[in-house]
Symmetry: C2
Subunit: 249 residues, 2 copies
């Protein structure tokens, strides 16, 4: 008689580890965040797109998979914020009843690994699926509450973004190839969540040498056309790696 071997299934969800994604979108005016509604029955319950990881996948892969499953957004560069592990992070009553409806082990302790990204909103039209009944861009400053500890995660992501802008350039993937310094200024103001002196900002940006002036102005605008700029790709990417040595905003 051969010994019975219990074959481990290829894909097994790990009951204790999840990933959550904070996707920021810039609409040329303000920062927005991509949220899903996880419940049709109980009205709107906004949450960050997130779910348990599979035992065989990398955390980064899991984040990309979950984001695609819930919102349709694919191949986005995600950066890890860190792990969130308050033992009570999933014990709100509304969260528990939802977990009981979808999880195999709803009582298991779950720590989550949070990711964030910054994308151009017009390129990413969310398509909800899986347990997401809808997926929407909502202005960050209008969000007051989210499921689980997602509001706390959102605050951490905002803080990380503000910190990042002090040490390396941001914006390459957020602006069109040709842009005005006003658009870049708006982006930095949206991320830092405060007004920035225009002249000071321009002086700093020019000192960083990440943009160069084109021999071209805006066209078809209802105001006096502004000078157009482009990113100095090589220097920009170098600074993305090494960071600023003497700068901050």
């Amino acid at each position: 008689m051969s010994k019975e071997i219990k074959k481990k299934p290829q894909l097994e969800l790990n009951p204790n580890v999840s990933v959550d994604c904070v996707i920021f979108g810039f609409d040329f005016d303000k920062l927005n965040v991509l949220v899903i509604n996880r419940s049709e029955k109980e009205g709107i319950q906004w949450a960050l797109p997130g779910n348990l990881i599979y035992d065989a996948e990398h955390l980064d892969e899991a984040a990309n998979r979950v984001l695609e499953e819930l919102t349709g957004l694919k191949k986005i560069y995600l950066e890890q914020i860190g792990a969130f592990g308050d033992p009570n992070r999933i014990s709100k009553e509304s969260d528990r009843s939802w977990l009981q409806s979808i999880r195999a082990q709803p009582e298991a302790r779950v720590i989550t690994v949070a990711y964030f990204s910054l994308v151009k909103m017009e390129d990413y039209q969310p398509q909800p699926s899986s347990f997401a009944t809808s997926a929407e861009w909502i202005p960050v400053n209008e969000i007051r509450e989210l499921a689980f500890d997602h509001f706390e995660i959102l605050q951490a992501a905002k803080a990380r973004l503000k910190q990042m802008i002090k040490i390396r350039p941001i914006g390459f993937n957020l602006l069109p190839e040709k842009f005005t310094l006003s658009q870049l200024h708006k982006l930095y103001e949206a991320i830092l969540d405060k007004p920035l002196d225009k002249r000071n900002f321009r002086r700093k940006i020019q000192k960083l040498k990440i943009v160069y002036s084109l021999k071209e102005k805006q066209s078809g605008v209802p105001h006096k056309p502004s000078q157009l700029f482009s990113f100095n790709t090589e220097h920009y990417l170098e600074l993305t790696q090494t960071g600023y040595d003497n700068f901050g905003f």
Copy 2:
């Protein structure tokens, strides 16, 4: 007959989540890191102090508990680096046999949450216990290999430290109350792992207003006594919270 109720034990180790700590120590010359040897039988196998978390504890608590259990170091301010979750991170042969000797579920997927800290070495004399057969300070630049993915975690911690020094002050807990600018300079060089121009460094530090000159010089030194300085505590702590707005090294 009463229904049998299986009582959940208060303390249960979670098989899937661990914490690991990178404790940097400064000996007034170079950066060191606190490592443990986890095995008596198989020669030296350096590892970062780390272990599984209990289901009921916060990640931060777990990191402090594990650090104390393995090295005797207590109440250290630890900062999270992030989660490390390569599905193969614990599959080296030497790691597997060790795990089989100490873990209830040695085959379980483990993601680890890494922490780091910076302490004054003279204040922390490690006392190994639990499965640590020894605990030692080793110069960071002499480490070539560690258990699991701990070498990768160490590199991430070094990078984080370098990044941090660009955006907020470091050193308050690392230097005596009165110190020379040479000692501070040495600390920044050790963290940034490169020589820094002395005059440039002094200019930047003074511009940051984090130190002030005392009306006092060193005594009992075999060279010309240097001017002593002290940290401007209030301004220092403010910068620790808000970060530099215009600086970097």
